[in-house]
């Protein structure tokens, strides 16, 4: 929740496969989100995992899954999902 306006701010969770070397893609996405939203997100949680994972959820909704969707998400896809929640 935004301390000034009281509006809901989205929380982002990124799960990445540490043993696969997905740190650069994780940091690229985190950087894109930080620059796009500054104070307008509640937080970004980064979870190192295994087994080829690269999954991103916004407010508990899975926006991208490497297993389900293949590959890495374009940062714009995640930014759009966050914007939709900010607008809603």
């Amino acid at each position: 929740m935004d301390i000034d306006s009281g509006r809901h701010l989205p929380k982002i969770r990124i799960v990445y496969c540490a043993s696969c070397g997905y740190e650069p893609q994780t940091l690229e996405l985190v950087s894109a989100l930080m620059h796009a939203f500054h104070y307008d997100i509640a937080g970004i949680e980064i979870i190192p995992w295994q087994d080829g994972a690269f999954d991103v959820a916004v407010d508990g909704e899975l926006i991208h899954s490497m297993y389900r969707d293949g590959g890495f998400p374009a940062p714009e896809t995640i930014i759009r999902a966050v914007r939709e929640r900010l607008a809603g």
Partner: protein
Amino acid sequence: MTVTRERFEQGMTYAEYKAQMTRNRERLEENERTIELSPDDIAFFANLPETLNVLVITEDWCGDAIANVPILGRLAAESGKLNLRFFLRDQNPDLMDQYLNQGIHRSIPVFAFFDAQFHPIGHWIERPAAITTMQEKMLASLYATDPAFAGIAPGTSLAVLPDAARTRLMQAFADFRAETRALADREVVRELRELITQWLSNRQEG
């Protein structure tokens, strides 16, 4: 898979690799001390017709590497027939990209074997296949029986798991590693022997 002698020799020895570790060295050395190798396994490697060169790609933060690199270290020390050189994955993409798991994942550790003339013999990645299968069964059982996973479909992304389920899942993986360690160690040695036996067989036929 092309690795020249010159490139191979740029790698670190096992002692140099351990000396530069910034974490988990105690765990690696404890594993190295406590791994049980059979006399038959030692004899298999000691009786190889030539010393093999083994390129190791690893990182000190990787659990599978901390578990499996010491097995190779002990085999090398006790057989005298494995010449190891270590490369850090994130600093050597030219090597890592030759050994991608399923063509996409930069999984480690990688053990790539070469004969004395640097002809490739074969390579081994990450963990034994049998352990991966057992891990899948463990997960299926966890989702079916653990109350923390009630109403949660198997395969649900960690990104959307409730905190209680996520904590339970991480603990289950830690328990699984501890419970299957002896079997996993034996499977690593068995798979390495299988890889080299295939090479020896091809060599005799050729």
